[in-house]
Each structure stands twice: as structure tokens, then as C-alpha cells.
Subunit: 269 residues, 2 copies
């Protein structure tokens, strides 16, 4: 996905190689539901191996440990979200609509790939970094930075276009952090507080939507929120995402370093 491999064509594509790649996809596909509904402990090399009818040893040839699998899933999550954000940005010309579109994409991501969303939270909260390879960690960080930069650019464009004027002392990253916190925090709360309805929050996603709009309005980002046009934009973005973005587990085509770490060097700070 994302950074497409230089068109090398048949870069080592013996039948066996293909089988291995396919198995890697199968491993991830198998692992996702395990993590999604029982957390990191729900994922075991044992269970994955059994489900794909191989021995544990074989799974260990693909991933050094279960944290690597988790991180690989997190990379899928991040890169899928990034693709959706990019797509959403491209669908509009006005900066405010671009950012609103990103919000819609975010909501769509959570709704369509709840497992991947869950994985992201787990990766964030648990101590997985220490056990993973630098290669995959970098992949993850690159993804996150790309995402941050993409949205950062939208905000900067808004400023140069005159749609947005930040008050003294507030920088573009601050605004970005606000929107990011609102959606990330919001969806996390929504996903983990079963009875929000009891305290008056019947439709958390709608609340998050409104809050993001309120914040952008608060910063006077033009054109200000208007229900009708927002909903039109929303439908447009959702339709386009549905057409263009598919289940990420099907294209782990370049999960990068996968075979070559049978014996990986430990050298790293």
C-alpha cells in the first residue's frame, strides 16, 4: 500500500515465495479477530498456528513474536487510515471541507474496521515497542508522521488561503492535536464506555462530529459549519471511500521485512 515498491516486477516470485506471502496475509487475517475481541492476551502464536494448520515454529518464521504481529496489524491500521485521509483530502478544494472530510474518513475507518481501531489503542497502551523489531517500528512511525504531515499541510494551506487565522500563540500543530484528541479520545471513550446512552450520549459518533465542527468554528475556520452542506460533503466522502478503500488485510503486499528476519540482528539503541 502506501509507498509502492519500485516497479521491479517478479522480484523473487517463485511459487514458494508467493505461498509465503499469502501465508503472511493469512496469519494477520487470523490474528486480527483474536486481538480485537480478547486483547493482546487473546492473541497467541499457538492459536494462530492451529487456525492456519501449521506449527508454531512456522509462525515464528514469519513473526519474531506476537507483538510483531500486533504491530504489523497496527501498521495496516495506520496506513489504511492514512490512505483514507488522503482520499478525503483530495475530494475537496476548500480547506475546511478537506478537514471535515478527514473527520468523516476517521469515523468511517472506525465503523468499517473496528478491529484495526482496537489494535491501535492496544498498541498505544501496552508495552509492545520493546519487543518489536526496529524495522517495523520505523514503518509505523513513518506512517504516523505522514499522517500528521498531511493534516498539518491542510491547516497551513488554510492559513495561507486566508480561511483560517490562528490567534497569537496557537500553532498549526496545536489545532491538529485538538482535532486528533477529539476523535481519537472520543472514539476510544465511545468504544469502551458501554453505557454512554445512560448519561445522555445516544449517538457518540454524532457528538464527535459536532465537537470537531464546534472546534473549527471556534477557530473561525471558513466557511463555518452549515448542516446541509456538511451532510452533502459527508455523503460524498463516504460514497467515495466505500468505492475506493477496501479491506486492508487483502493487500499486505509489501509488509516489508518479513522473511529476512529469521535471525535478526539485535543491534539497536
Amino acid at each position: 500500500m502506501l509507498c509502492s515498491r519500485p516497479a521491479f516486477e517478479t522480484f523473487m516470485t517463485t511459487p514458494k515465495q508467493l505461498e509465503l506471502r499469502d501465508r503472511e496475509r493469512r496469519i494477520l487475517k487470523t490474528a486480527l479477530p483474536l486481538v480485537a475481541d480478547a486483547g493482546l492476551n487473546g492473541l497467541s502464536m499457538e492459536a494462530v498456528a492451529r487456525k492456519i494448520s501449521y506449527t508454531r515454529g512456522t509462525v515464528y518464521n514469519h513473526f519474531k513474536n506476537k507483538e510483531e504481529i500486533l504491530l504489523a496489524l497496527a501498521v495496516q491500521a495506520s496506513s489504511t487510515r492514512l490512505a483514507m485521509f488522503q482520499h478525503a483530502v483530495e475530494l475537496s478544494t476548500r480547506t475546511r471541507d478537506q478537514m471535515s472530510g478527514v473527520g468523516v474518513a476517521c469515523e468511517d475507518f472506525v465503523a468499517r474496521f473496528p478491529g484495526l481501531f482496537r489494535v491501535e489503542s492496544i498498541v498505544r497502551s501496552e508495552a509492545v515497542w520493546k519487543k518489536t523489531t526496529p524495522a517495523r517500528r520505523n514503518l509505523m512511525q513513518t506512517c504516523e508522521r505522514d499522517c500528521f504531515n498531511l493534516l498539518g499541510r491542510v491547516i497551513e494551506n488554510a492559513i495561507t488561503a486566508g480561511d483560517l487565522t490562528l490567534p497569537r500563540g496557537v500553532q498549526p500543530p496545536d489545532v491538529l492535536m485538538a482535532l486528533w484528541s477529539l476523535t481519537y479520545g472520543g472514539f476510544n471513550i465511545a468504544a469502551s464506555s458501554p453505557d454512554l446512552a445512560k448519561v445522555g450520549l445516544t449517538d457518540p459518533a454524532a457528538t464527535i462530529r459536532r465537537n470537531c465542527s464546534a472546534l473549527m468554528d471556534g477557530y473561525d475556520w471558513q466557511p463555518l459549519y452549515d448542516a446541509t452542506s456538511f451532510n452533502r460533503l459527508r455523503r460524498r466522502v463516504l460514497a467515495s471511500l466505500a468505492k475506493n478503500i477496501s479491506e486492508p488485510v487483502d493487500d499486505a503486499s509489501d509488509a516489508s521485512a518479513s522473511i529476512d528476519h529469521s535471525r535478526i540482528t539485535e543491534a539497536q539503541s
Copy 2:
């Protein structure tokens, strides 16, 4: 803490009983750093038992499994935060200051008890609920609801006092959710994205502070943000919290159902 036991005085306080209670505190005190720096997997009954110089069996007499320990820690986190929020609210008369004070308290909580904050995220993201007893789960939910209600009341008071007028379609819980998302999401992002500084966020806590103020300003919550008076309020709240709120692990005095579940009934939906 919180709901103090009816002043029964010496309600079963043989020396042994005291020893048991004390041990419960020791268990939690021992467990916290384990969870805090290695996640749920870093916490093992084994390790806890060793550290307090008892056998695993004894620890199992106090907590049915490690998830119960985690949840007990989460309850401490929640109730401590609630106490801090209540304290912050009581320190001001104007509703805007009360809510700003809560923000300060929130920041103070994260700064002073990072382990407890970490525990909260883990409890949220991992599948612990299924393995815990209803009693403790209820304790947790009560705590969270109390917190929600406390802040909800502040917002409602703001409306009746005329400090805040919500636009059509926006309810008090929505505003609450916004502030909650901003802080919860923000501190979580700050805690788990090591290099925010590289993307221009050198002081995440300050950013979160600003964002909350911006949001309240966006809703035109009077009196609007003013740097000088905000900082004065902030210092006042911090000072008072430092005096009045202490390390929570020292007073697990009523960790409720603790001894009586040596053999707990499994009956529950």
C-alpha cells in the same frame, strides 16, 4: 475513600484482619509499577507474590485473578481523580473557573500519578471486564458515573447562571464529552507518541490546556479565557491539590468486597 463506611467502629478489627487489609494495600502498591511499565502482561500473580514474600495462593485469596488487581487499581485511579475534580470544583464559584479548575486537576492527576493514568488506558483497551467480579465492576462504573454527573452539574449550573448558552442541538453531555475527549485523548497521545516534539508539539500539556480553553471560548462560556487570571487560578488549584490529595495507594481502606470472595459465586449475566 469516597463513600466512607458507616461509622461502625471496629467492624471486625482483629489483628489478623488488619494484617490482611494492610497486605491488600501492599499487593496493589506492588502491582502498580509492574503494570505501569510493562502492561497487563508485566503484571503476574507470581511476581506480586514473590515481591511481598508470600505464595501465589495467598495473593489469590485477595484477588480472584490479575484482572481483578488491575481493576482495583483502576478504581483507585477513578476515585482519586473524582476526589481531585470535586476539590477543584469547590475551589471556585464561577462555573467557567470550576471547569478550568477541573482541567488543571486532570493535568495534575496525570503528572502526579502517571501509573494510575496508564492503568486506566489499559483497562479501557484490554479485555479485562469479562474476567472480573461484578462487585468491583460496579464500583468502577459508579465512580465514572459520579465523575460524569459532577461535571454535568457544572455545565448545567453554567447554563442556569447564564454563563453559557448552548446552540440549538447541543446538549450538556456533548460539551462534557468534548472536554473529556480533549484531555483523555490528548494525554494518551502525549504518553504514547514519543516524538511529538519533532512535529512541533514541545509541550503537550500546554497544548491540551489551550485546546480546552479554546473549546470553552468557542462555546462562549463566560468569562472568556484570560491568560493572567487563568494562571492565577491554575496555581491556586495546584497548590490546594498538593495539600489535600495524597498518594492513593495508602488508603485502600474500603476496597469493598475483598476477603469474602474466596469462593465467589459465578452467577451473573
